[in-house]
Assembly symmetry: C2
Homo-oligomer: 322 residues x 2
């Protein structure tokens, strides 16, 4: 959470002159988003978020991300709506970086979501999957099996510095998943990073989903597994089965899972736990001196992975197979 790039006022004024959104009243860097610089922009016409894309986001992916937000907003999802400039373009440049202005969303992210909020986010995830249908651009998930294999190789030499035996654990887990990963379950656009800080609530109701910069095409049920990992473990590491049941039922109430999807949930929970374990491990082992973001603890996801390894079946996650 940081602002990486300073924006000069003259440059901002020149940039905004391309839009029909009025004059600047206030402009503040905000601590939201790990990969980009975000600013809260208030103009005489309303409030907006200005995002500058820093180098971790591939420019070639930006038309997918921005087109997706356009598509989802048109489909009725409450998400940031890209603001198009006078020439029709939403993706522009500012301070030497790709830049986009999107609509401001009201709401707050829960640090400790309650059961009702877990139910709401499950339903919102199903709404996102429905709204993504028909989107014309495709983006493969770079952080699925092939990406994990690369991360496992990159981390192999140093993983045991974090926890003795970790290299062997992740190599074994990846081999297990590679042998069993499904090929033909329902798929489409997924968020792929729907952590609590990417969901806004007013009370217990979801008021908006943000940060689509990991969105991609993959299995819908895998996205649900990411949410179970992100929303249903307590700070002490305990898995809260009540929250899991609420989240799963919130989802399946709007988009029922097929038998095959339900059966795959334990595997998807293991896979998504490995995915975040690996990216956190990589960031932990490759810390940049002077970086503005503290790396997250990979061991949190090692513990989640261990929980899923022992799960009995989809019932563990509040999912029943009829």
């Amino acid at each position: 959470m940081a602002v990486y790039t300073d924006v000069d006022n003259d440059a901002l004024a020149a940039f905004l002159a391309e839009y029909n959104i009025g004059e600047v009243l206030s402009f503040k860097g905000i601590a939201e988003g790990v990969e980009n610089s975000n600013f809260l922009l208030e103009t005489t016409r309303g409030r907006f978020i200005l995002t500058l894309f820093e180098k971790r986001v591939a420019e070639a992916d930006l038309p997918f991300f921005i087109g997706l937000m356009d598509h989802l907003a048109l489909g009725g999802l409450s998400c940031p709506t890209p603001i198009h400039a006078r020439d029709g373009k939403a993706l522009r440049r500012l301070a030497g970086r790709p830049a986009v202005i999107v609509s401001f969303l009201t709401g707050v992210s829960p640090r400790k979501p309650n059961v009702a909020q877990c139910a709401s986010v499950g339903a919102a995830l199903a709404g996102l999957h429905a709204a993504g249908a028909g989107f014309g651009i495709r983006r493969d998930n770079a952080l699925s099996l092939a990406g994990w294999r690369r991360l496992v190789n990159d981390c192999a030499a140093d993983a045991d510095k974090v926890r003795p035996g970790l290299a062997e654990t992740i190599a074994g887990e990846l081999a297990y998943l590679e042998a069993r990963w499904p090929r033909d379950l329902p798929r489409g656009v997924i968020h792929a990073d729907l952590f609590t800080d990417n969901v806004f609530f007013v009370g217990d109701d979801v008021s908006g989903l943000i940060d689509f910069y990991f969105a991609c095409n993959d299995f819908y049920a895998y996205d649900l597994a990411i949410c179970l990992n992100a929303w249903c473990f307590e700070p002490d590491g305990a898995f809260n089965a009540t929250k899991a049941m609420a989240l799963s039922r919130g989802y399946t109430g709007k988009r029922p899972l097929s038998r095959a999807e339900a059966a795959a949930m334990p595997l998807f929970c293991r896979g998504s736990a490995l995915r975040f374990l690996l990216t956190r491990l990589y960031d932990w082992l490759n810390q940049v001196p002077g970086a503005l973001v503290r790396p997250k603890d990979p061991v949190e996801y090692l513990n989640k992975l261990r929980f899923h390894t022992g799960a009995q079946g989809p019932e563990t996650y509040g999912i029943t197979i009829d």
Copy 2:
């Protein structure tokens, strides 16, 4: 610029229940202020800034800072106004830290101030000095001569790692200033840190002054010297005499300097350059691994100090002695 402390939603709701400011609609950490955590808080009643005081601010000083903002706002200065809770207190606790809610100010901070903005900030500084009169609490400037002596001692062993000869330069400069520092010029409440990021503008007019957490009692003209250092050097290190004249005349148009104050300006510019050189040098030499704030370059203020050492007199700063 960072957010050091996470605020849980339940804790925030309980905290706000002590106030008459409505329900939360939005809550975002903002990249403003180096010493504290700041959040933009939108409620059903309006917009506010919530500040959590981190450990670098001494709790004993908080009644001065908060009382001062109350006093200045009552005196007509556009500055954050502390919001008092139902029990009348403005200083409370949240997330284990002292906390205050203040009013939100519109406006943007210039990265590259223009001449008209320099004139405006000079006038605003004089307005601050006038509005501070009669404030009943006193806070000595911990970063005047005695504080510099301490910093010079702390940095002496390692200063030459930053620039060969730096230890000797700062020791000599401090001795020069100690021998000549005035004792009886007009004094009162000064801001002591009025850098560009602490001033908001709408166009070229000052819309508000913020961040009073270095405010203290000291010479008024010394505060003007801090501004000359902060506002009148270009990014390439050149001193912009046009901006200095505009800033000084903006100030003296509202609060004329005495002959003795005018004569002391070159000394005050040297002193304030040394002050920021020393604190930046200290932070540079004492970097905390994993810190969220990048230390600022001390050499910028070494170069400013060198400029002032060669100044001919107050005329260098656009100040004439009648």
